[in-house]
């Protein structure tokens, strides 16, 4: 009987069906990473912040999508718009701060304008150029403001006030259409009344962005978390459904978490979200790398910015209701931090695990077969969430996740694969 394996055995194709493993090259290859930025991250809807970060007219936030600097501003008309954060004159980044408000002027610019510090070209909150310094002297009548507006990006505020941006002018679908029903399970809780960000921190982790998304998509790794085992792991927990939606999105059904099973912890039934039963816990993982995680009293949202094949920035937000009393807000913060803050019980464990994956699947590492083959009737420890994601990934890149140098072939349904396997084995 074979136990440990030699090199050939280690590299052999697993005796599993298509989609039940991926080649680790998808987590480490520079060319694949560039392909992902071009064909996925530049083409789709990406949530970039929450509207509560842009409370007042003239407030702004900056971010990056697929290496492109982006600025989101709230206009005098209170509409949120997005632009490339790039001056059309000499390509300087216009705004360097993470956030702020243009009601106050800047050293190079007048109030209520976005002004490039380099040569003081200014733009209003709709992206229209309102000042070309010494225009007549330099450009005479050859160039005017109407020709040098900012590059506006597709932008929507959707799903509890999240701000979504797309670099793709031709995306042709709304965020709602893009979500394909995956958000519906939490829409009543998040759309009932305005939300507000109460927590923000970021981490840069030496691993591929998809490894973090995988971790959010599969719950089998609850063996990593004492907290989850002791507060979960009962019949209702193992019955949670892991459901796929068009576009590679999934969500995970709820159950009642037994918080008081963790020593020093207490039930969170005193505080929840609208329409959410106390102590319940839903999770939504959207393609290509977004996570909404509602545990009763606190909503967590992870937004990822891939930095390289082996580097990702993850921004962690915690949200409550804008109408929270001071006491309720503090309760939400404490609940959030106990497991999800940078000193919390679970987040540190998750980040340690993906850091370890990043260490063994770095760009020069030998390819490995990474197994996604658990089938448990699409419940919590089934790995169908990852399989569903990589089917979409394969389609968009036209690469097979298990052999990324080959073109993608649609996955047959699992039952069909089992039948083929049985037939091949002569059963």
């Amino acid at each position: 009987m074979m136990s440990s394996r030699n090199h050939d055995q280690w590299n052999a194709t697993p005796d599993l069906q298509q989609g039940e493993w991926v080649d680790s090259k998808i987590y480490s290859d520079e060319e694949i990473f560039e392909d992902e930025l071009k064909k996925i991250w530049s083409k789709t809807w990406i949530p970039v912040c929450h509207e509560s970060e842009l409370k007042e007219a003239y407030s702004f936030r900056t971010m990056t999508i697929a290496r492109e600097p982006v600025i989101v501003v709230r206009g005098k008309d209170m509409v949120v718009r997005a632009f490339l954060n790039v001056c059309p004159h000499r390509g300087n980044m216009i705004e360097r701060r993470p956030s702020g408000n243009y009601k106050r002027g800047t050293p190079s610019g007048t109030p209520k304008t976005m002004t490039c510090m380099f040569h003081a070209w200014s733009f209003d909150m709709k992206g229209k150029c309102v000042n070309i310094s010494r225009k007549a002297e330099g450009y005479q009548d050859r160039l005017n403001e109407s020709q040098v507006g900012l590059r506006e990006l597709k932008c929507e505020v959707y799903f509890g006030g999240f701000v979504w941006v797309s670099l793709n002018d031709d995306i042709g679908i709304t965020v709602e259409e893009f979500a394909a029903g995956s958000l519906d399970v939490l829409a009543p809780s998040l759309n009932e009344e305005p939300l507000e960000v109460f927590h923000y921190h970021k981490a840069i982790i030496p691993c591929n962005y998809k490894l973090w998304h995988d971790t959010n998509c599969e719950f089998y790794h609850d063996y990593l978390h004492y907290h989850n085992r002791i507060t979960g792991f009962n019949e209702a927990y193992f019955a949670r459904k892991n459901s796929g939606f068009d576009g590679g999105h999934i969500n995970v059904g709820s159950f009642e978490v037994q918080y008081d099973n963790y020593e020093g912890s207490h039930s969170r039934e005193e505080l929840s979200f609208p329409h959410l039963p106390p102590n319940h816990w839903y999770m939504i993982d959207m393609f290509p790398g977004v996570n909404f995680n509602l545990r009763g009293s606190a909503l967590r949202c992870d937004l990822m910015t891939p930095l390289g094949p082996n580097s990702v920035m993850i921004e962690f937000r915690g949200l409550g209701l804008a109408s929270d009393s001071k006491k309720d807000r503090q309760t939400r913060i404490d609940h959030h931090n106990s497991i999800w803050g940078p000193f919390g019980r679970n987040l540190h464990e998750d980040l340690l695990a993906v850091t370890g994956q990043g260490s063994s699947m770095h760009p020069m590492a030998e390819s490995r077969k990474i197994l996604h083959g658990r089938h448990e009737n699409e419940t919590i420890h089934d790995e169908n969430g990852m399989r569903h994601y990589y089917e979409e990934w394969g389609k968009l890149l036209n690469r097979s996740p298990s052999n990324p140098d080959e073109t993608f072939k649609p996955y047959p349904a699992f039952k069909e694969q089992e039948a083929q396997r049985a037939a091949a084995a002569g059963k």
């Binding site: 927590h199 921190h201 981490a203 940078p342 000193f343 540190h348």
Partner: protein, 165 residues
């Protein structure tokens, strides 16, 4: 004989420094023993991203005791954290029954098992910088922490940690 303010300031400094050793060496019980029953602990930072003061961690004495007592059940980065702390200012109240202190803080992390132990173990880097803003209760010979705010400048904590700072 009543202690002079100078003596009390020295005792506060000594307590802060000894607590650094307790925290460095995971002598959690010693740390808790030096905290009053109504002790409160918080790690905070201002986030210019969302223009808000963010509480990252904290709670009362009972909560912090439960946090440290549960550490062995959790998977943690075991890379040691060492503090370099300088007490900048100690102020003792006129009645000699309370004090407040501000200390500058740098915490260094020496890699053990956080990334790739073969390559990285032994590498020291700055884990975070900030300040301790402490308040104390003085009762005769006893000085105890009433409040500790770890006010961070560092906001990129990457993998984070399970250990109190």
């Amino acid at each position: 004989m009543a202690e002079t303010k100078h003596d009390l300031k020295e005792q506060v400094r000594e307590l802060i420094y000894n607590t650094c050793i307790h925290l460095d060496d995971h002598q959690w019980e010693h740390w808790h023993d030096n905290c009053a029953d109504n002790f409160n602990y918080a790690i905070r930072a201002f986030s210019p991203e969302v223009q808000a003061d963010i509480k990252y961690h904290g709670g009362d004495k009972e909560y912090m005791q439960s946090i440290t007592s549960m550490l062995s059940k959790h998977n943690s980065d075991q890379s040691p954290l060492r503090r370099h702390c300088t007490v900048y200012r100690v102020e003792v109240a006129a009645d000699g029954r309370s004090a407040a202190a501000i200390s500058s803080l740098a915490v260094y992390q020496t890699q053990l098992d956080g990334i790739n132990s073969h390559v990285d173990a032994g590498t020291t880097s700055v884990f975070l910088v900030g300040r301790y803003n402490d308040k104390f209760i003085i009762d005769g010979d006893s000085i105890k922490f009433e409040d500790r705010e770890v006010r961070l400048d560092t906001r990129r904590l990457d993998k984070g940690t399970h250990w109190p700072i």
